[in-house]
């Protein structure tokens, strides 16, 4: 068992889809929170296996998509400093800011580097003591322990030329924001498995109870998603609204305690702006106490132009599950991965990018490719 390819078996997928068909008696709208799950759904053509009654809408779980445009502008400004090395995960580079992306800045000569881990950025800081090395610390709860450790190790090793431009967001407050909105159509959630690997799932119990909505912690492979949908549909059909764990091979109820401890040491919870959604109270992390000296926001004062969003991009509606990517007039015409108007067209977790790359249009049949070994 490799814990990967086994969960892409087509026959098993069809069997699960058959079980969902047997269970469902009416139309249900289910949201998958995480953009990684969106990509599995679209790439594997899972919607074509599902009965018509199941309407999947794609949630805001794409950190690249929800990072505010002001922070992209700020990242570009830091990257353009002659003394800076600006490090980021690859996904952030093409995200459009008001005028430029990090990729544009790099093309113009800025030292922008793609790193695999925040610890790689910390290593660069140690190797280049004459430079200011800043890391774009974006992400959900999944990535927070890694970024917390980078700040903690920088402090431990007294590395002073290192900083983090933090844009950390949290899933449960965003779910609450969606559920409390008057136009919410979501009846059940597939919760993001890897976020729960870190935080556990006890935090979802009050949400499931208050909004009477089933929440199923779900993994990322095609069989995981179908199994998660089956569990959600079973709850909906039986009138239950519980928190269940489909992804028990990776998620424990209490989450990862050592990781939570480090997060609490380094970060504090603050209100956060979400691109496309606006400000959500207590929905993100910021560096706390002695770690604030690593805050790039404080270290590099910014006096740029006020941020400007593209007036044509409807990413806010897409991130709330109110519209699907192909319903946007700019989709695939004025907005493409090479020339994006909004972040969801760029990110490997963005719903628009998934629809664009895997050719999903309304009523168009996508051949399932469940056993494909090549994924990202």
């Amino acid at each position: 068992m490799k814990f990967l390819s086994e969960y892409r078996d087509q026959k098993a997928a069809e069997q699960l889809a058959g079980a969902i068909r047997k269970k469902v008696t009416r139309r249900w709208t289910i949201m998958e929170i995480c953009g990684g799950q969106t990509h599995t759904i679209v790439k594997s053509g899972l919607e074509d296996l599902l009965p018509r009654e199941i309407n999947l809408v794609h949630g805001p779980g794409c950190p690249v998509c929800v990072t505010p445009i002001e922070l992209i502008d700020k990242a570009v400004a830091i990257a353009r400093r002659p003394d800076a090395i600006f490090c980021s995960f690859g996904d952030m580079l093409r995200v459009p800011g008001s005028a430029k992306s990090l990729f544009d800045a790099k093309a113009e000569g800025a030292d922008v580097r793609i790193v695999y881990s925040p610890l790689d950025a910390l290593k660069l800081a140690k190797q280049n003591p004459q430079k200011q090395v800043a890391f774009f610390a974006v992400g959900f709860e999944t990535t927070a322990p890694a970024n917390a450790m980078a700040a903690w190790q920088a402090d431990h090793d007294r590395v002073e030329n290192f900083s983090l431009l933090v844009s950390h967001v949290l899933v449960p407050p965003a779910m609450e924001a969606l559920l409390s909105s008057h136009n919410c159509v979501v009846k059940g959630f597939l919760a993001a498995g890897h976020v729960c690997t870190i935080m556990g799932f006890e935090g979802y119990l009050p949400i499931a109870a208050k909004y009477e909505v089933p929440i199923v912690v779900t993994g990322f492979e095609p069989l995981d998603i179908l199994d998660g949908i089956l569990m959600t549909v079973s709850q909906l059909e039986e009138g239950r609204h519980e928190v269940e764990n489909q992804y028990a091979r990776a998620v424990r109820r209490q989450g990862n305690r050592p990781a939570q401890k480090r997060i609490a040491e380094v970060f504090e919870i603050v209100p956060r702006q979400w691109r496309g959604l606006g400000e959500i109270p207590a929905s993100g992390f910021q560096l706390r106490g002695r770690f604030q000296k690593y805050d790039a926001n404080r270290r590099f004062p910014f006096s740029g132009e006020p941020a400007r969003e593209s007036p044509e991009c409807i990413s806010g509606m897409i991130l709330q599950g109110l519209r699907k990517p192909h319903e946007c007039a700019a989709f695939g015409v004025k907005c493409t991965p090479e020339n994006p108007l909004g972040a969801p067209m760029v990110s490997s977790e963005g719903a628009c990018a998934a629809y664009y790359h895997y050719g999903r249009r309304q009523n168009q049949f996508v051949q399932p490719e469940l056993s494909s070994p090549a994924r990202r």
Partner: protein, 86 residues
């Protein structure tokens, strides 16, 4: 960005301080150094889930079989009832 990949721990280097505990993890032939600070229970031979250079969870191999057991049971019931799986 929340992508995490399972790999098998092939080596652990104890550095004294748990925050710097690292190991080599094999991803189907490719080996990478991974920080193991958050998985003190990780052992050589176990599978861990790795995200941006950090092991975030040790895979529970028994739980990993769950969906296949359900499918097996579903298959057995269908056979019993003489239904052809769709």
């Amino acid at each position: 960005m929340c992508l995490a990949v399972p790999g098998r721990v092939v080596e652990i280097t104890d550095t004294g301080d748990i925050a710097f505990r690292v190991g080599k993890v094999d991803f189907g032939g490719i080996r990478k150094e991974v920080n193991l600070a958050y998985t003190p229970e990780a052992e050589v031979g176990k599978y861990v889930l790795v995200h941006v250079g950090f092991a975030i969870s040790v895979i529970d191999e028994e739980e990993a079989q769950r969906v296949f057991k359900i499918l097996e049971e579903m298959g057995a019931v269908e056979e019993e009832l003489g239904e052809i799986p769709q």
